[in-house]
């Protein structure tokens, strides 16, 4: 079953064309990793997919429903698409537990006790069972990002988008975040991950898409993407990342 389908997405900021007609299909349970040099449009693509940015042209279908110009219905659609940001973007005035429980309480109108119980369960899922009362500035980057993942999962999304989730982290804490992401993928979470962590792409991704200058120039299953015979441009990029 196809969860997400995008056709011919175009997006410009002023004269700069950031997306030049990107196609993408994502089946349920699939983990797609987006790689490519910075400025290639990966983050913009993610933001367009959950309607944080409006596309100029093209179509987006989510769970079989056209959402391209959702307009006022956009918040309802975003509830079913989780997003994790490079800089975590936790709510600094709330504890870890309340960060996670906020949207279920206010958006889904869950009773507070139930929202808090689920938030605690999600903290356990991201291996932070004893950080419920900690505030964001008391947590390491890796811990903050895991809370951010739990916060997104609290809305029980059908799709998770990760926008360079480990780029702002100390090298020591990258592993714990990737670990959680890999566990999610193994549990069958459908996800799109923008990352430079090729190890993660090898281990957890089903497919890898290479973007450059607003175009998806190569897409392959994970094994083939890192195997021999990839386009020369991709090989050069991978060589530079590995170095």
């Amino acid at each position: 079953m196809v969860v997400l389908e995008a056709r011919g997405l175009k997006k410009s900021f002023g004269v700069l064309e950031v997306l030049k007609g990107v196609d993408l299909t994502l089946a349920r349970g699939e983990c797609l990793v987006l790689v490519g040099p910075s400025g290639s449009g990966k983050s913009t693509l993610l933001r367009c997919l959950n309607l944080l940015e409006a596309v100029d042209s093209g179509r987006i279908l989510f769970a079989g429903e056209e959402i391209t110009n959702a307009g006022r219905r956009a918040p309802e659609i975003r509830r079913r698409i989780g997003m994790v940001f490079q800089n975590f973007e936790l709510f600094s005035h709330l504890s870890a537990l309340d960060n996670i429980a906020l949207a279920p309480r206010r958006v889904k109108k869950e009773p507070p006790a139930r929202a808090r119980a689920r938030a605690q369960a999600l903290l356990e899922k991201v291996h932070l069972p004893d950080k419920a009362d900690a505030f964001p500035d008391e947590l390491s980057g890796g811990q903050q990002q895991r809370v951010a993942i739990a916060r997104a999962l609290a809305m029980e999304p059908a799709l998770m988008l990760f926008d360079e989730p480990t780029s702002a982290l100390d090298p020591e804490t990258v592993g714990e975040v990737l670990q959680v992401m890999q566990e999610l993928s193994e549990e069958g979470m459908t996800s799109i991950v923008v990352t430079h962590e090729m190890g993660f792409a090898r281990r957890a991704a089903h497919r890898v898409m290479f973007m450059e200058a607003g175009e998806a120039i190569h897409e392959a299953c994970s094994a083939d993407f890192f195997g021999p015979g990839v386009p020369e441009r991709v090989a050069r990029f991978l060589g530079r990342i590995a170095a």
């Binding site: 959950n50 944080l52 918040p75 309802e76 659609i77 975003r78 509830r79 079913r80 698409i81 989780g82 997003m83 940001f85 800089n87 973007e89 936790l90 709510f91 600094s92 005035h93 906020l102 949207a103 206010r106 958006v107 505030f135 500035d137 008391e138 951010a148 916060r151 997104a152 809305m155």
Partner: protein, 242 residues
């Protein structure tokens, strides 16, 4: 002259007119600050909307560019010519509040801006509507940023309210002046008023410190600030002129 009578100071301080005067000072300050906060928040939000930005800038230009004393006398003396007759108290609150709004707008704007785009995007990504983003994410975070400057504004307002004696509102300073000119005991009458001002400002500095302490996210781990620290901070903020 030359003889200070502490007994008379105490007598004045505990007399009915001084008590009423202090109450009036307090009431004007609270009402004007409340009006200023509302106006300030409205202006801060209006500055973000293109079609209201010009009106907001005009308001700031007008109220920051003229003395508050001028605004006070203007409201009191000119509005009646247009058939708008307000009580002295209302004039005082209106003028001080509108003036305060022009400064509060800046505080509110910086509070809102300090929250930044990131948490707003995160809240939207969770499916919150714009009013929910504002209510549950932006305003609570901005509140923590604006509490200290608003506390300072309130202390300033307690002192600024002495100006309304010029429009015959019976607040603390006017009571002291009237008492003094009737008895020629200037020192005692002004000392009594000064004591009230100090009691009020000290009390609200403490209130401010308690609020800040309670809003601080790690209050379990932060000791309540020492009194000397509070006094130092309050005296450091008194350099404002209008």
């Amino acid at each position: 002259m030359g003889f200070v009578s502490p007994g008379l100071v105490l007598h004045y301080a505990l007399s009915r007119p001084f008590l009423d005067g202090a109450l009036m000072t307090l009431l004007i300050s609270i009402a004007a600050l409340a009006l200023g906060m509302l106006v300030g928040l409205a202006v801060a939000l209006a500055q973000k909307l293109r079609f209201l930005r010009l009106a907001a800038i005009f308001y700031l230009w007008l109220f920051r560019g003229t003395p508050v004393m001028f605004q006070l006398i203007f409201v009191f003396s000119v509005l009646p010519a247009f058939g708008i007759v307000l009580s002295g108290f209302t004039c005082a609150v209106l003028a001080l509040g509108l003036n305060e709004g022009a400064y509060m707008a800046e505080i509110m704007r910086s509070g809102l801006e300090a929250v930044g785009r990131g948490p707003v995007l995160a809240a939207r990504a969770l499916g919150m509507r714009e009013n929910q983003v504002m209510r549950h994410v932006v305003l609570p975070q901005a509140l923590r940023i604006v509490v200290p400057p608003i506390g300072n504004q309130f202390i300033g307002m307690l002192k600024l309210s002495a100006l309304v004696s010029v429009i015959a509102v019976p607040e603390l300073l006017l009571i002291a002046e009237r008492t003094a000119s009737a008895t020629f005991r200037y020192l005692e009458a002004l000392a009594a008023a000064g004591i009230y001002y100090l009691v009020l400002t000290t009390f609200f500095m403490l209130v401010q410190a308690v609020i800040e302490w309670r809003l601080s996210r790690r209050r379990r781990r932060i000791a309540f600030p020492a009194l000397t620290q509070l006094l130092l901070r309050a005296t450091a903020d008194t350099g404002r002129t209008r």
